[in-house]
């Protein structure tokens, strides 16, 4: 039977690309939905997110979906993308501070405006473009070469690249987390739906991932 993937729609803007990329990745039925029942009954769930962490958390809570997400990950695989990954941590420092879902310990902080590369050039913020992801052992990377480039666009990041939950790192001024995981949860700071073949490959892996780390 064709599996169902719920892409959670909580008012966070463009979900078109995420839905299309998941559909393109493999055989599945993709539902873009804010309905708690549809999300709970899906085989897998994608939690996207763009813009500000505070707005995303507010959008989730207003729809009562924060608790749905926390329930889902007890039972089946969930993939967080960009701000959808960030809100799985404990908190964010933007605006007045944002309390997040707390699935992963640690917080999201802003890139420094005075970072330099090895040549001494000032680094631009947002971190925008294709950067290399150094993988740590994880089944979601199957078939994707280490240091493959993915597309990033963000001004905040999970800075503790040595934390236990980190399964992929990227370097921009300093190392930061490109991917976080624990059983049933995989979050990426980059946009697989904008990362060409490598991104589609990652969504394909998600469609067969059993949730083990």
């Amino acid at each position: 039977m064709t599996q169902t993937v719920a892409v959670i729609d909580y008012g966070s803007g463009n979900l078109h690309s995420v839905a299309k990329a998941v559909e393109y990745a493999g055989q599945c039925r993709v539902l873009v939905t804010a309905d708690a029942e549809e999300i709970r009954s899906a085989d897998r769930v994608v939690l996207p997110g763009v813009g500000a962490m505070g707005d995303c958390m507010q959008g989730l809570k207003e729809r009562g979906l924060d608790l749905v997400v926390l329930g889902v990950i007890q039972e089946k695989p969930l993939m967080g993308v960009c701000v959808g990954m960030q809100i799985l941590t404990e908190s964010g420092e933007e605006s007045a501070g944002v309390d997040a879902l707390g699935v992963f310990s640690g917080q999201i902080t802003q890139f420094s405006k005075s970072m330099k590369n090895l040549k001494g050039d000032a680094l631009k913020v947002p971190h925008m473009g294709w950067n290399e992801v150094e993988q740590r052992q994880h089944p979601m990377w199957n078939g994707i070469a280490d240091r493959t480039r993915f597309y990033f666009v963000h001004s905040y990041r999970y800075a503790d690249a040595t934390a236990e939950c980190v399964v992929g790192t990227c370097e921009y001024g300093a190392p930061f987390a490109a991917a976080l995981s624990k059983p049933n949860v995989f979050g990426v700071q980059f946009h697989p739906e904008k990362s060409h073949d490598a991104g589609i490959h990652l969504y394909r892996n998600f469609l067969t991932w059993d949730g083990a780390c």
């Binding site: 803007g13 813009g51 000032a122 631009k124 473009g129 294709w130 950067n131 666009v153 921009y172």
Partner: protein, 253 residues
Amino acid sequence: MGLAKRIIPCLDVDQGRVVKGVQFEDIRDAGDPVEVSRRYNQEGADEITFLDITASHENRATTLETVSRMASEVFIPLTVGGGVRYLDNIRDLLLAGADKVSINTAAVFEPELVKKAAEKFGSQCIVVAIDAKQVEQARWEIFTHGGRKPTGLDAVEWAVRMVSYGAGEILLTSMDRDGTRDGFDLGLTRSVADAVTVPVVASGGVGHLNHLVDGVVQGHAEAVLAASIFHFAHHTIGEAKEVMAAAGIEVRL
């Protein structure tokens, strides 16, 4: 190794067809935007920029439909611009599948639009497009309406102001060079790139692959944009990347 410099083919689209003019005049047909973007995607383009050069009211639906078709099969970032005047235009384009929306003339007449757009949709998807012409030694001014109307605004000061309003990227076009194939205006590019904290995309004048190298090395651009050099199969994106890599620039191969 780290962040790669980006190569961005640009599709100037007039009534649903890709065209490219020399200094915004003489228009040549280069095909269907979806087909053209599919080819660039396969060749390894890092992003695609789509500029709706007619941008008439009647044309809006066609543009949204084209953007939606592109976003359904091209899984790299897509920037869309041309005639963006209201928050609703931006929302419609983002919902159709654009990742970034570029605001040009409207930013000049209503700078607050940039601030509101960045607050509402996030800086990461708001690009301010600047069309500049040199007016004296080391001074460039903003021109609107395809380079015909001067505004008296200094290009560098304007870019800094737009970033303070929340622009997440600057798309900088030299109207003196656009369509000439003489290379980027490197003085303009470097002046703006060094003055702002966000990425600058250099545009206007690429006629040779080495011009792309110059834009990064001498112009300090994070990304380089070109249209006709790629459209008429003069060069592939892959060739452009090889030339950049050979010059020591980090690119996604």
